[in-house]
């Protein structure tokens, strides 16, 4: 047996990571995932006013900042409720928050499809198309973030969600403009991404219908299928979702068995050799993200793929792009039912609380994002952020290798392994906050 160790810098993820591969007899036996720099957002938050978290935590991440804002506001609201102050969001505020979060997820997934997966896949299978995928990515992402900014004021780094609601008070003029941006995004998804109308796409519920998908998504599926990528990249088949949202209920799925979860059993630990902390649920590792949501929600097409290919690279990639369709339809519905005559914020301005503890959970693009705040005398005594990529990219424990590591083990080459790695939609800035 011959062991070889190779270090590789991975770029063009959100930031960079360094992977240390251990090969044994030509196959990858272990991978250590290392991230560069710890920025100390949790320390920066300490001793600041409770609501400052709404401005500071979005700066964890340039691509999923809005998910951080919503986790932060939910943590404060949960703290208020734990202390007996009822937070009854108007359906308007709730719908606007859901809308803006959905827009951010779409932006994320589309950038990942066009700026990561397609170019990397073409490079890996050596069939470069010379197409400017980035122009497609930025067209759709800037269109949908425009829809979002009508309510949130801007993207990235909005702080428009506040305890009790939202700061905006939109008019029909605003809603119509947002609807135009959503319609444009749907048209793009239909004509360029899938070559199918959204309705027809959403009716696909089994692997046997996948060949109907055309466009860039169809091209990607075809390239993966014809290069033997459908079954590689399997991990533990163990998934977890903490945030309730339109994509999924909270719960965990082991193989296909779905059961309840509680954030109290989430534990963080320091890992050697990297600034990223590991995270477990009742001492076990779980995968988070779109595939987890598809499994816990028992989404028919995801279940069908899982039945044939298990938790492989193909199932994982599909689950993520599939969410774009679900979210696009959802954004349209949300705008349609928006009740503009309701209040935007139901918490009185002078209703302030000086001692509380709260937890906020959001399903971000890459999975469950958890914020925990402890406030004493009006200032933050402690703040904890657990990001989705900490679940997927940890080194694992003494008994088990990490989720992404497990998916890379058995690969024959660094190229194959790094492609598997990228299917987790890696974000280094979130992992090493």
């Amino acid at each position: 047996m011959k062991k070889v160790q190779i270090k590789q810098l991975i770029e063009k993820i959100e930031g960079e990571a360094e992977l240390d591969f251990t090969f044994n007899d030509g196959l990858i036996e272990d991978v250590k995932i290392n991230f560069g720099f710890y920025r100390g957002i949790e320390e920066i938050l300490r001793d600041k006013a409770a609501r400052d978290a709404l401005v500071i935590t979005p700066r964890v991440c340039g691509i999923c900042n809005h998910a951080h804002l919503l986790s932060a506001v939910r943590a404060i609201e949960n703290g208020y409720e734990n202390s007996g102050i009822k937070i009854a969001l108007s359906s308007k505020a709730n719908d606007i928050r859901e809308f803006t979060l959905a827009c951010e997820l779409i932006q994320n997934h589309i950038k990942w499809l066009y700026m990561t997966i397609l170019p990397q896949l073409e490079a890996y299978v050596n069939q470069r198309s010379e197409e400017n995928y980035a122009i497609k990515a930025t067209y759709l992402s800037s269109t949908i973030t425009k829809a979002m900014a009508i309510f949130s004021g801007q993207w990235p780094h909005s702080s428009y969600a506040i305890p009790g609601g939202v700061t905006c008070d939109p008019t029909h003029l605003d809603v119509i403009q947002a609807q135009n941006r959503v319609d444009e995004s749907i048209k793009f998804f239909e004509q360029v991404v899938t070559g199918l109308s959204l309705d027809v796409y959403l009716s696909i519920d089994s692997v046997s219908n996948l060949h109907h998908i055309k466009g860039d998504f169809g091209k990607m599926l075809h390239l993966m299928g014809s290069h033997g990528l459908a079954e590689i990249g399997q991990s533990y088949d163990r998934f977890i979702v903490f945030g309730e949202c339109m994509l999924s209920k909270a719960g965990k799925s082991i193989v296909t068995n779905v059961s309840n979860v509680d954030t109290r059993y989430v534990e963080e630990s320091i890992q050697e050799g990297t600034v990223a902390k590991a995270v477990t649920y009742k001492n076990r590792l779980y995968e988070v993200g779109p595939l987890a949501r598809g499994m816990v929600a028992k989404m028919p097409i995801v279940k069908s793929l899982h039945k044939r290919y298990k938790d492989s690279l193909l199932t994982r990639v599909f689950a993520r792009i599939n969410e774009v369709a679900l979210l696009l339809e959802h954004t349209k519905t949300l705008l349609h039912k928006l009740q503009l005559d309701e209040p935007s914020c139901t918490l009185e301005l002078n209703e302030k609380l000086y001692e509380f503890e709260g937890t906020g959970v959001v399903e971000a693009a890459r999975g469950s994002l958890i914020h925990k705040t402890t406030v004493k005398e009006g200032i933050i005594a402690n703040y904890d952020i657990i990001t989705p990529t900490q679940w997927n990219l940890s080194h694992g424990s003494t008994e088990e290798q990490g989720i992404a590591t497990k998916a890379m083990v058995g690969s024959k080459s660094i190229e194959e392994a790094t492609f598997v790695f990228r299917t987790f939609d890696v974000c280094s800035v979130c992992t090493a906050q």
Partner: protein, 298 residues
Amino acid sequence: MPSQKKPRLLWLQSITCNGNTHSFLNHPDLFSILSYFEVVHHPVLEGSYVMEDVIAGKVPCDVLILEGSFKEEGLKKGGVEVSSLIHTYAKKAKHIISAGTCATFGGIFKQNNPDEISGFCFDLEEKTARYSTYASKLISLPGCPMHPKWMSYVLLMIANQKKIAIDTLHRPVELYGYTVHTGCTRNEYFEWKIDVKNFGLKEGCLFYEQGCQGPYTRGSCNKILWNDVSSKTRAGTPCFGCTEPHFPQTSLFSTQTNMGIPAKMPLGIPRRAYLTLAGVVKSFKIKRFSEKLLEYDK
């Protein structure tokens, strides 16, 4: 510049959240702007060199865009200190653009290690030791994040070989000569000293209670709109002063006051002038300002 070689553009990150990268990707004319340059390396877009070449110091660079706070030691890429890469390319470059508040003044990440983390040429508003070496080619674009159109303005001025007028902190005056207050849709309420009664309302100004820093923050957020559609204050969110050297301060959602008057005055306005005007306008009760701006039929 038809016959000339395109300037080579390198976008280099240090301690960052990637927010300026994603802000710039929102630019509706992104690829026509970039067509004036050869992108040698960028964090997410295709470039003509890979990161390993950048780390090896062998990439050509005419325009260097810096994103993220600066630290001399402790942040490495591929085993090399990022600070040394920044020095290497800053020396080569003809223009240096510090993109965002972190690269310009130190920004949010400075707060975790104020002694060692700063901007590249400024530490808050003070000049760093590096300033004198690079000042002649430095343009500052503070903002957390910077606005994509502020970046395109600078890039196209460079591509067109035009001189950019700057202030003492090297910010382009065409962008930072204004305050965020300029163009705010709530200006009428500011003039008549009408505060907003709660968050989530169209009526009222956020300067008096909600901590809005727009009247003393430099930036054109309400002149060149965000995502082409809005701004913080238009969406009812206070301006947090994210373009300023000391961003972020604390208690961002409330206004500090002295005897009921905002502790910090609008840019350049003497306290006495402010109080005189406030006294005059507050002596009138304008009915229109006590009413809703518009109402829907029930």
